[in-house]
Symmetry: C5
Subunit: 323 residues, 5 copies
């Protein structure tokens, strides 16, 4: 059964060792002990087993069955249920996963769905700071939240790079359909990440305000740190969203401007070309009595006048910015 | 009288059996008993009868007479009046109905108007979990709310499919009047569903906060679950609305861009065609002394120069992206 | 003096009869009695008389002198002053009026300005329900508010009809200046009605919260009903405003689209016409040595080639959607 | 020293008479007495003197030195500091000034900067209502606020007139650069006035809520009246701002529409002119064997066909709305 | 070690003198004494030393290590951690720095990163007002905040100048790509400054509300002054942002308008030129029986008619505003 990633018991901040699922309900009864269980896409049987061992609420288990929840925190008697969106960069693309957490006074169960880094390293890092782990699953919960939020960071950085590239392209004069598609696509991705990250602020805030038994006073600063981290990312995302909207307008304005230039040029050159067109067709008429036609220097004189007219009009239009 | 869909009495979570409307006021007096009455578009006489039997407030009955209410919750002494919008997909179209609920400490009356699935299956499902039904009409109310909200889900999914189709069409280059009409229509439908679904959050919240006698502590998590469900849908709807607005801008930008291309091409080819036009009309003039005309290779030379000129200009314009 | 529409005293819900203005201060002293006075555009002398008889606050009388107030509620010691906007449809146009109400524990004075239906029918309707009228001027106040709000309903319905007509015209292809003017005008009218109706929610809310002596518990549901009614209208208005903004964008998009089509066609047909233009001017040149000109079938062959060229280009452009 | 506009002491609502600056600290000690001092752009020495006499806070004096504050209220121990923006219409232009008020339990100091009407008339008007003046500087403060807010009224009326003129011009067909500049300019002026007026609501609200010692219960209605006045103006301003944004869009839509018409006409007439162009150049070719050229009625027949073709195409295009 | 800018101890508002880092923990214990330490980009060793000496929280030190925090305030047991963004104008460009503050009841540590003026002058200015310095690090904190906020002022002024320049250019007719880029760039810079300055309001507010031990009642007015200063700047920034958005629309409208004019002119002159084109090509036809051609005054008459036609059409179009 590879879906159980780790199942460890801790006592007074020290690792007691791995324990079997069936022993959980017994170990949990010991004082100053808590169990940290990590699952990856468990099947229904395992989930029911877990529900029984920890006495979890029916509704939270129902939610844990199907992914595609939005990030939230639900308080049941005896346990808290938290849903988080995890995000990772894979070959330049953002892939989302989901992590469900069941937290009680002496247990923390994490259930990973879809793309997300394993929480094994979170476990290791926590075990290093025994001092904090003494405080029970609250610190482990912080470590997990922090880990999830830390993974949003490189994605926002990637989005910023993408946005800068778009911006540069637009002002370089490349404001075609492709740039618009890239703008649109980035907006969609920003919205998606925002929806994933923002609820973490409310989740942390509710943990601090309502769950004193789980988050002792000394840990509050840590959860506020997580909130702060998300706020900063949300600020960056919202800044980009506002600038994206502006960039879309800028694009439209530049296209309009460009077309204006083209139309002006079209009109300008049309004016210049009107001169030979009219003059040449004038002398293409077949009247018998057209004295100029019989005048010897007629041809060069007319061509010269035409050329001079073109040059004159060209100069005037150039000064007015039309050609 | 087919408008009475069901009229059942429950005692300690067990079905006592169907009861006649006239017996209601008596049965209701028994301890730990509640009556669940389901009506479909009742006439005035029946509504007045119901009002009398349960002692409902005049204003709520007035509201129940005519549909086209907005979803809301009203508290009267002795009973709560709730209006819900029901929605169903029928051949790809969303049809809306309305359900009015009268809830008291020992009764639940549902009145369906227009399109909505029968609540008979809700009844059946509730009867299966006797443990919850013991808690009185509160659980039945949850089951109804949950049923109504569950029906919003496939509609949102349908809207997402529609939106994806529009998006694909736009970026494939099909940004004509029809796409705009589809965008507009989707926006309108999103607004409609949002107005139907969103008030359920406030209704649930008021039920949890203000009606402890009806919603015991154990049931709160269930109503929060309903809230959460609606929040998720509202989040999806709002995300789509934002992207729709952006898509409208994108469409405009693409049209502008496209026109720009057309105008540039028009100008570019106009420039190329100006060459033969001017040269050919030049030699169409009827001057007697035009030495080129009598020059034997004049004709092929002029045509060749014209062609070369066209090719040269075409190349330069192509490099500049004008043709 | 036709400005006094009615001046009636009620005792325990029963009409005592009409009373003269000068007797008011005496009648008002009797227990369980209240006076309902209805005025229409009274002069200054009458207003001062009223102020004296009921002991109204100087500031409220000042406000009552000049219309063009925004809807509001002001609490003075001993009386409440309420300003309402009344609205009516007259030959398809909305005309606004203003009603000022002075309400005390034993009197209700209504002062109508401009367009509004007479409140005489409100009076009659109230007298029918003696049971409610016992509760004093609170119920009369509700009846007036309800009457005013009921008159907003057909106006919103009219606006919806107007909006549907505009919508249909736009998508039928009629997106000219007239449609834009109609959109603009509707937006302005929606804003106006919204400003008139929305404050009633706050007025009702303040009456319920702060004036228990005037609005006994049994009447609260009635005022909430008024609030609910206005909320529904405001919801409809806001929905229309959002769709109006979208319709304006849609209009712009359709115009842009249409122009795009025109420009494309212009370019397409220009390309086709370029063929005969160039070929015919080619053979209009006057070179002496142009062998084709002396070739017998030259003329029909050139015309045929030209025609074939046109047909060929036309077909290709048609396939590309340019002509 | 002309910067002291008035310096008057009042006792029990009666004017005691003018007093010298140096006597202030003595007079102020008398019971039921307050001093009303009016300054106009005082120099530093005078301000320091005033600070000393009334015991004002260092920070408020610092603020009073330089104008260009935003409207605000600051509470210091012993005195309140209020900044107001005054506005006046001068030859159709709005000019702004600033008034700083220092208010204590027994004094009111007003310092005017820039354009504003003298407060001497406020003084006079206050002295007429001795009854209110008994209440101390609170009523004087109200009178000043009311005076300042009353001066915003004609400016908003002027803006409404300007906006109506712009609106009329736009729909009359004059949607050129000048109208856009007028729209833009009006928006800027609206924003400016809004920033000046809106803070008065907060200032009044804070005075009512937090300064009971200064604003006795009987005066509260007066300050609410001021709030109400500003709210009404703010409502008008915000309505105009929303309609201005819409007018900008309308303008763009009308320009787009107009251009569409022009382009369509251009295309339509181009199509008509294509007929003679092609036909005439056809018979301008110099082929020796062109039988039509030798046919006697050739010339009038060709001209007639050309004319008929033009008329036919013109009719069809006219029906389609292209010419 | 040049990263320690100053390290001074104060007792009862008087400078005790510079002290070494290692002596801090001892000096700090003395009553009515506080230490003001100023660092510039310290290395890790120094930060750890500081943490130890003052007993700072691990998380705040972690934050202090890496810059690019957003402005915030964090409360730890025994100390407050504040992050501020500093901004300076350097050759017309805004450069940002960051300052981290650790504040306790008897110490103030400032850590500067990146561009910012030295706080040495703040120190000097504080030492001059011994009266305030007696109140401990609260006043020093105010002085620092005030100093940081004062530096935002010239930047906003610079932005206003830039915006005015853009505005003037737009209405002068220069609405090209460069202006759009300048608008876009200004919007970005405004957003950046806003994000730097706005959090100072919350920081000050939290200091006043929650840290009475640090900010005694007499100092509150000072922190409110800082808040007020930032509010004013934020108001200016938001006003500019709104006008920038409008300016972008104005630009688009002017471009559209301009193009409209160009297209109209193009059409107008095209109409005028159509006259000679058609007439001249008419008489360029080679029919043998064209009586006009043999009519002696044919040529001058035709040219005269053509000219008259052009003049006539030109006049009519000029009146209609087309040429």
């Amino acid at each position: 059964m590879t879906t159980i990633i780790h199942s460890v018991a801790y006592q007074k901040g020290q690792r007691l060792g791995d324990i079997a699922i069936d022993d959980i309900s017994e170990v949990v009864k010991q004082p100053e002990t808590f169990i940290w269980l990590g699952l990856h896409e468990p099947d229904d049987a395992l989930l029911l087993k877990i529900q029984e061992e920890f006495g979890l609420h029916e509704l939270s288990i129902e939610d844990a069955h199907h992914a595609h929840q939005r990030p939230k925190i639900e308080t049941y008697s005896g346990s808290i249920f938290i849903v988080l969106k995890t995000a990772q960069l894979e070959q330049g693309h953002v892939v989302y996963g989901e992590t469900h957490l069941f937290v009680g006074s002496n247990f923390l169960v994490s259930v990973r769905h879809g793309a997300s880094a394993s929480y094994a390293q979170v476990l290791e890092r926590c075990e290093e700071s025994t001092k904090m782990l003494v405080k029970g699953p609250g610190f482990a919960l912080y470590a997990l939240l922090d880990f999830v939020v830390d993974h949003y960071q490189p994605i926002v950085a990637q989005f910023e790079k993408d946005f800068d590239a778009i911006e540069t392209d637009i002002f370089k004069g490349q404001f075609d359909g492709l740039v618009i598609e890239r703008l649109y696509d980035l907006k969609r991705r920003l919205l998606e990440l925002r929806n994933a990250a923002l609820p973490v602020i409310d989740i942390s805030s509710e943990l601090i305000r309502l769950h004193e038994e789980l988050i002792p006073k000394e840990l509050r600063a840590y959860f506020r740190d997580v909130q702060d981290h998300v706020s900063r990312l949300a600020g960056l995302i919202d800044g980009m969203r506002e600038m994206l909207t502006t960039a879309m307008q800028v694009n439209l304005a530049l296209v309009a401007n460009n077309q204006n230039e083209v139309v002006k040029r079209l009109a300008g050159w049309g004016a210049i070309l009107a001169i030979p067109t009219v003059i040449f067709s004038l002398y293409g008429m077949n009247f018998q009595w057209m004295p100029e036609l019989k005048w010897r220097p007629g041809y060069p004189v007319v061509v010269a006048i035409t050329l001079l007219g073109c040059v004159f009009v060209h100069r005037r239009l150039r000064r007015a910015g039309w050609v």
